[in-house]
């Protein structure tokens, strides 16, 4: 029984520790050299919103025809004295970038295929080519202190996922891609 108790404590530690090492405060987030504010129509303009930790953006190994990027995102909610940290991984399917789809459309159009342009948009709406996963999270007070708060996985996911085409949540992975590769994902041929 004691072993199970100790094991569960270890597991809890493993879950909490990764994001704890990346605790940030409201003042840190306003440092534009380290964090980039991600424009959103939902922001009130009073310091709330999403921030990208620029130093955390890194590409990781991915299967053929894909690229993967990991990064830490912080969602600041100053009025609630809360900062929600998220460690995310995005997977990019290279043959679904908008430029790739438009080029493929133009090529088949020249060969007599009359598929309308709107079908490209519908294809992107069906599968944007970007899928995201929240791998880890941490909750902090405005001053950067760890906050013990249980947040459901579904609620964490809803902050930045799904990256559907035509949705504001689609812009963040494109920005990440640009940081990692110097070109927007949708500009890839």
């Amino acid at each position: 029984m004691k072993r199970i108790y100790l094991l569960s404590l270890w597991l809890l530690m493993c879950l909490i520790v990764p994001m704890q090492g990346q605790a940030v405060s409201q003042a840190d987030l306003l440092n534009s050299e380290r964090f980039e504010h991600i424009d959103s129509s939902a922001d009130s303009g009073r310091g709330d919103g999403k921030y990208l930790d620029l130093s955390s953006v890194k590409s990781v190994t991915a299967p053929n025809g894909h690229r993967r990027i990991e990064a830490n995102i912080y969602v600041s909610m100053p009025a609630a004295n809360m900062i929600q940290g998220l460690s995310v991984q995005y997977d990019y399917q290279m043959d679904r970038s908008l430029r790739h789809l438009i080029n493929a459309h133009d090529k088949s159009f020249k060969q007599g295929d009359k598929t309308p342009y709107i079908s490209i948009w519908r294809a992107k709406q069906g599968n944007s080519g970007i899928t995201g996963t929240v791998n880890d999270s941490g909750t902090f007070y405005n001053d950067g202190q760890m906050r013990q708060q249980r947040v459901y996985k579904e609620n964490l996911n809803a902050i930045i996922l799904p990256a559907d085409f035509g949705d504001e949540k689609y812009k963040l992975p494109n920005l990440l891609y640009q940081k990692a590769y110097g070109i927007a994902y949708d500009d890839e041929t």
């Binding site: 970038s97 908008l98 430029r99 438009i102 309308p116 342009y117 709107i118 490209i120 948009w121 519908r122 709406q125 085409f165 035509g166 812009k171 494109n174 927007a184 949708d186 500009d187």
Partner: protein, 190 residues
């Protein structure tokens, strides 16, 4: 004499009224009705489908001033589910501005910039579609064409039609296609 005229008018009215009604069978079989959108519903509460037919003979051009166009037409929403078997008749008016069609946006982004940004293109396509619509309820029928009482909620204001609104977009595009034999988003304004 007056009574006879009134009786005759009533008889004529009785004959003419049902001809305006529509049956599901007519929608499915008559070539003037084009199926423009289908959606199957297989939820725990309701199963069946939603089918939208456009009356291609009803479309009239209200404005032809390229790159701007305006069309009006009648469409039918068929709800064929375990709970509902109804046909809603509606009249739709759409203003089209092909200055904002996808083909124009793609074309102009290529001309303005040798290496155009797809993000700017996405933003342009989301900020304005070039489509604006207004619609009114006309009638409601059972599948065999009998009229059903309905609550009319008609807002005559025009509002922008987003490309994400696939149902209304498909109807608007089908109207454009039947009159001009081209998809709205494929028209290029040079």
């Amino acid at each position: 004499m007056v009574q006879r005229i009134l009786m005759l008018a009533l008889v004529l009215l009785a004959f003419t009224m049902p001809t305006e009604a529509i049956t599901y069978q007519e929608l499915k079989t008559s070539p003037q009705f084009k199926l423009v959108h289908t959606r199957s519903m297989n939820g725990p509460m309701e199963s069946g489908g939603l089918y939208i037919y456009l009356n291609t003979y009803s479309i009239e051009a209200l404005r032809y001033a390229p790159p701007q166009y305006s069309l009006r037409g009648t469409y039918y929403v068929v709800m064929d589910t375990s709970y509902q078997s109804t046909i809603d008749e509606r009249q739709l008016t759409v203003d089209y501005d092909t200055n904002y069609s996808l083909a124009t946006l793609i074309h102009s982004s290529r001309i303005m910039n040798p290496s155009p940004s797809m993000m700017a293109l996405i933003e342009a396509s989301e900020s304005k579609s070039g489509l604006a619509m207004t619609e009114v309820d006309v009638a409601k029928y059972t599948f065999d064409g009998a009229t059903k009482p309905m609550h009319y909620v008609n807002d005559t204001r025009k509002f922008p039609l987003n490309r994400n609104n696939t149902i209304m977009y498909d109807i608007a595009d089908a109207m454009f296609m039947s009159v001009y034999q081209n998809h709205f988003d494929d028209i290029v304004v040079q």
